[in-house]
Symmetry: C2
Amino acid sequence: MTLTEENYLKALFHLSTENEEVSVLDLSKSLTIKMPTVNSMVKKLSGKGLISYEKYKPLMLTQSGRRAAGLIIRKHRLVEMFLVQHLGFGWDEVHEIAEQIEHIKSQRFFDRIDQLLDFPKVDPHGSPIPDINGDIAVQNYMKLEECAEKQIAMFMSVGSSQDSFLKLIDKLNLKLGDKVEILEIQDFDKTMRVLVNDASEKTLSQMVAANILVQLTV
Amino acid sequence: MTLTEENYLKALFHLSTENEEVSVLDLSKSLTIKMPTVNSMVKKLSGKGLISYEKYKPLMLTQSGRRAAGLIIRKHRLVEMFLVQHLGFGWDEVHEIAEQIEHIKSQRFFDRIDQLLDFPKVDPHGSPIPDINGDIAVQNYMKLEECAEKQIAMFMSVGSSQDSFLKLIDKLNLKLGDKVEILEIQDFDKTMRVLVNDASEKTLSQMVAANILVQLTV
DNA sequence: CTAAAAAGTTAGAATAGTCTAACAAAATTT
DNA sequence: AAATTTTGTTAGACTATTCTAACTTTTTAG
Ligand SMILES: [Mn+2]
Ligand SMILES: [Mn+2]
Ligand SMILES: [Mn+2]
Ligand SMILES: [Mn+2]
């Protein structure tokens, strides 16, 4: 498979996770590639049995397309983890590089990175790393936004990997694994006042809280 | 610059080091790409000011082409070093992977690897790593083949990175930095009997000795 | 239920990189 | 010095990936 084909599959995989139906337009926007180009690539990948495609119908990955996409995402996330843990990159700097390295042709290279990282289950953003079969564990975290006052939760993953959001989380000194207790929710704008790790109080806008994914603590 | 262009420049650089004149045919053979293709790519790179080219004349890198090539070789060798030192690859396994990773677009990525390796001056094969300006230190090592009986030398670099040669050196338990004392040279076939690190005796064929680069010990 | 808008498709063209076939120049042999 | 071989170049074609323009189908609005 070419780098280009891999990127198409990955994009379709991500879109399929977010929406139940994915259109050519969705894929086109997500890749910033014009629709006619996407249309022809979709046909090509359909010919390879990776996408199931019928004219005017939503796009779907086949079993084998899903597996292929999962394996690329696995490489991407392993690389991101490596960049953060061993090369000292910030979690806001790794995506672009991983986007390139994920296409390196060498099973062994990624196996070694996996081993060096001690077989991590999540990437630096808290997203699950697919297993060697390309299967991804389903995460069912809540948005902090949806939690109620007095609830206590653990920060498990981010809902956005936008640069500005990640940098903001850094500036707030929040890290994956932090304990977050909801002290108060403003009725007017849903702004949250929270206590982090029983130590420091922070104020989070609804937009920020919507992108903080948490697991409720019993 | 594209991956393809980078590979052309690198190949021309290496050929220029080995021979004083490099022809289109040389480049064609070295890249395993047919001459007409090479011809047109050479024109293209000439247009970009990286190769100085006149019809029917030998090929030469310009100042800026040499610099560009040096920087790619720098990345290649840093990566090889990283693969050996941090991912546990053998020196016979790293070239293919480095051949791909050298094209990653991220200055920072290579800077971090350089730092992680503590700014190495040579790669796992003993070849010099160009500096940040693409300048390569000239090595003037002797072939062990050219040394005389009784001379004592240090194994500094290999003259070939062929898989079978590297594996043979491994099997002989020879490593860069080893002290090699020439005990005897067979007149008939130039086979050498050597003492390694004052400890073990080995017999090396002339062909092997020709690819072991050493520095004479005073 | 039409008319307009949105989404999808087809056709045709461009660029990068590659090839084969044919021709031309340079180098090497007689 | 000619003949032959080797090397280099040109021309034309092919694949992969992309685009724009034009057309069609589906969806949405009135
Ligand atoms: Mn990423
Ligand atoms: Mn990618
Ligand atoms: Mn190498
Ligand atoms: Mn390369």
